[in-house]
């Protein structure tokens, strides 16, 4: 079972994703802002980060870059969760250090499978 850090500002979405992941037996470390997420990543030793791109204050790209600065995070996959990509979003997400992205809204029936795929890639 994995320790998954979720950085998501929307309370309902955070709850939904947490619910699905915990139902599958994973441990969720919730964070509601980028700063909070960076702090949690240093202490909680996650196996994976699910990162909302559209965050208040420090946005997801900045958060991903910051996370990748820490040697301990070098091998931890960061997956962006974004609603609807705009031109260049894909490149920006990859440039920032993510290994891929999941599109919102998530489909509860397939979500778990997609997450596991990213986990296995590492």
């Amino acid at each position: 079972m994995a320790r998954i850090l979720i950085i998501e500002d929307n309370e309902q979405n955070l709850y939904l994703v947490t619910f699905i992941l915990e139902k599958s037996g994973h441990t969720v470390i919730p964070a509601r802002t980028g700063e909070e997420g960076i702090k949690a990543a240093q202490t909680a030793n996650p196996d994976m980060v699910l990162l909302d791109v559209q965050l208040p204050g420090m946005d997801g790209y900045a958060v991903a870059r910051k996370l990748k600065e820490h040697p301990a995070m070098a091998d931890v996959p960061i997956v962006a969760v974004t609603s609807y990509a705009m031109v260049g979003d894909r490149e920006r997400v990859m440039d920032a250090g993510c290994i891929g992205y999941l599109e919102k809204p998530i489909n509860p029936e397939t979500f778990m499978g997609e997450v596991l795929q990213f986990l296995r890639q590492e």
Binding site: L16, F19, Q54, G88
Partner: protein, 696 residues
């Protein structure tokens, strides 16, 4: 006036002046106040002055007081008063020299051509003095001197000879211009006209009587007896019938030795001339030659004078009527230029009265800074001997004048520039127009610049608006989908039973809520897709993929809906259809849209997807057996928010954006879309895509 014609005029004028300078005649112009307005080099010499300038502006009778009361003094006055030309020859006693004057009056004064004839006069006198026996010499002399008519002179010569040798009858024959035919030169005093006229039209030759032979040989011919002399064979009869027996003839020669005619002495008896008579006939021929020569010379000179006068007149009229300023200045010394004349245009254009210019030096009239330039240009014309041109702006009483000035040097025969002839072409208005045009251009440029700035600003604003639009789309995408995310997520989780078991009714209602949420998501996605396409924000990622797999994926997504309606879904691929390079996600989106659409409007039958290759393009067709589309509705099909009425009284489920999005996506991928339909039988939507293929 064009620059060329102006130059030609200046050259004409210069040409004319140079003729005047070169003629061997003296040429002076006197104004109405008897002052010299023009003196050519020859005239200065004849009048015993070093340079023409020594006489210019001087009063003739102050310069030549001895002339007062002389015949030419009266002739000048007569010409001035009657305005009729006068020609006079006279002996100018103070210098003991003969002059011939040809005086032409005009309103401006007198134009006089004169030449010294002292040598000719003395030659004439010598001839006549040698023939001291001619007692009518004085009469003859004065006739020659006053230029009496030729015929009168010739008759007098014959009379004189007849009076010196008793029994002689004289005749003068002249040679026609052709140098062959002869005719009577003047009525003979003693011979009958019938006889002298008998030779008119006869040709000269070696045996054509005394005269014809003399003219032919150019030598004196003495025939003592017509009856026996072979030279008279052709004319013996007529001579004898008039009782003539002897005929001595001497050719009349011009100064250059050309035969002009013959002078003959006839006798009624056989006779041999004495030495005196031989000399007499020679002298008579000489005098006749002088008279004929003079007649011819005067005719030639008259023609030249007429030509000159005509040119002068036409130039004068040009001078008076031309719109350009024309002027004439005398070069009196280094840097000293005095105005001799200006034309009416000068007065009109500058507003300076003639009286303030004529006789003044340029220093007195032209203000600085123009003066220095003008004098430098004049000097240049004098030094180079060429026409000099420049542009000048001056302020005159009549206003500002911008002129193109041309100045032509007038050279004397010995190469000294004595005068300058100038022309000024008024280009003030032209310059004004140029200036206006320049200003207009500048204004136009300014307006273009402002407009360009405005456009750049508009472009900036448009770019800014685009950025705002993108930002808006991103925000809307996030804001609209975030709540849907949790609605779909939680209904999904609940329906999966992850949060506990649900009864049948709860499941049914929750499923309805989820379907509505999915429909809302479709709507949002379509609107955002369309907006992104229109904002140029739709991302196209080309990569090779297998078209067959894309079709299968689309069909598997549409499978449940088709199954629910009992419709068969089929896919077929022509040989060669396989890997294409395009955006798989968008191609699938198009296929799903078209297939869902087909299912939506088909009640029974099947929906088929056919893929083939055509001209290197992939053509995909989605064919259904549905309700079809009325032909007049086809053009509306691809417009956003158009859903064509099914005729069943209800709108079909869907956003009305699907086909519009499909069409625009196909275009983004470099292809195009078309539709064929038969109302009631079904539709076929096709799109073609460049395969971009494996080598692309």
């Amino acid at each position: 006036m064009s620059e060329e014609s102006r130059r030609t005029e200046a050259e004409d004028s210069s040409f004319l002046r140079s003729i005047i300078e070169r003629v061997s005649d003296g040429f002076v112009a006197l104004d109405r106040d008897w002052k010299y307005a023009y003196v050519n080099q020859k005239a200065a010499e004849l009048l015993q002055r070093k340079r023409p300038e020594d006489l210019l502006g001087k009063h003739i009778w102050t310069e030549f007081p001895d002339g007062v009361g002389q015949p030419f003094y009266h002739a000048y006055h007569r010409a001035m008063e009657t305005q009729q030309p006068v020609v006079i020859e006279e002996h100018y006693d103070p210098w003991d020299r003969w002059f011939e004057n040809r005086i032409f009056p005009s309103e401006q004064g007198l134009t006089i051509y004169f030449t010294e004839i002292t040598d000719r006069k003395r030659a004439e006198l010598t001839i006549l003095n040698n023939a001291t026996l001619l007692d009518k010499e004085n009469r003859l002399l004065s006739m020659l001197a006053r230029g009496a008519p030729l015929e009168e002179v010739l008759v007098t010569v014959m009379q004189t000879v007849e009076s010196q040798s008793s029994g002689t009858l004289c005749s003068v024959l002249v040679l026609e211009e052709d140098g062959v035919r002869i005719r009577a030169g003047a009525p003979s005093p003693s011979l009958p006209e019938d006889f002298t006229r008998a030779f008119d039209g006869a040709a000269i030759g070696p045996r054509e009587g005394s005269c014809g032979t003399a003219m032919y040989t150019g030598k004196q011919v003495i025939v003592t007896d017509v009856q026996s002399d072979p030279l008279w064979e052709n004319y013996r009869g007529i001579a004898l019938s008039f009782g003539l027996r002897a005929c001595w003839s001497n050719p009349i020669l011009s100064r250059e030795g050309k035969v002009l005619g013959s002078f003959a002495m006839y006798y009624r008896e056989v006779r041999t001339p004495t030495a005196f008579e031989k000399r007499l006939i020679e002298l008579a021929a000489q005098v006749a030659g002088i008279a004929i020569d003079r007649k011819k010379e005067s005719e030639t000179r008259k023609k030249a004078e007429n030509l000159l006068l005509e040119r002068e007149r036409s130039l004068s009229s040009v001078y008076a009527t031309v719109g350009d300023i024309l002027f004439h200045v005398a070069v009196e010394g280094p840097g000293i230029y005095r105005w001799i004349s200006v034309n009416p245009a000068f007065v009109i254009v500058t507003g300076i009265p003639e009286a303030l210019v004529l006789g003044k030096t340029v220093d007195e009239v032209i203000p600085e800074p123009s003066l220095s330039m003008v004098k430098a240009k004049y000097q240049e014309a004098i030094d180079t001997g060429r026409i000099v041109q420049w542009e000048e702006t001056s302020n005159y009483p009549a206003g500002r004048l911008i002129g193109e000035v041309s100045i032509a040097p007038v050279m004397s025969a010995d190469g000294v520039c004595t005068h300058l002839v100038g022309a000024v072409h008024d280009i003030t208005r032209h310059k004004q127009l140029e200036e206006d045009l320049r200003r207009l251009n500048a204004e136009l440029e300014e307006r273009v610049r402002i407009r360009t700035d405005e456009l750049a600003e508009a472009a900036d604003r448009a770019k800014h608006a685009d950025r705002l639009k993108s930002a808006f789309l991103a925000t809307m995408s996030h804001e609209l989908r975030t709540p849907l995310n949790s609605i779909l997520g939680f209904t999904g989780v609940l329906l999966q039973g992850l949060a506990g078991d649900l009864n049948a009714e709860q499941k049914k209602q929750l499923a309805m809520a989820r379907d509505s949420a999915r429909h809302l998501l479709d709507l949002i996605n379509d609107v955002l897709d369309l907006s992104r396409i229109e904002a140029g924000q739709m991302e196209i990622v080309r990569a090779p993929f297998d078209m067959r797999l894309a079709v299968e994926a689309a069909l598997s997504l549409a499978g449940p809906l088709a199954a629910k309606k009992g419709l068969a879904l089929n896919a077929s691929f022509s040989a060669g259809v396989g890997i294409v390079v395009s955006d798989r996600r968008r191609v699938e989106q198009i296929l799903i849209n078209l297939v869902n659409n087909a299912i939506k409007f088909t009640v029974r039958g099947h929906v088929d997807v056919e893929c083939s290759l055509s001209d290197g393009n992939l053509v995909a067709t989605v064919r259904d057996t549905g309700i079809g589309i009325q032909e007049d509705k086809l053009p509306l099909l691809f417009k956003p928010f158009q859903q064509i009425e099914s005729g069943l009284g209800r709108r079909h489920e869907g956003t009305g954006l699907g086909l519009s999005i499909c069409k625009q996506l196909v275009q983004l991928l470099g292809g195009h879309m078309e539709v064929k339909s038969k109302f009631g039988e079904g539709s076929a939507f096709s799109f073609c895509l460049p395969c971009g293929s494996t080598h692309g």
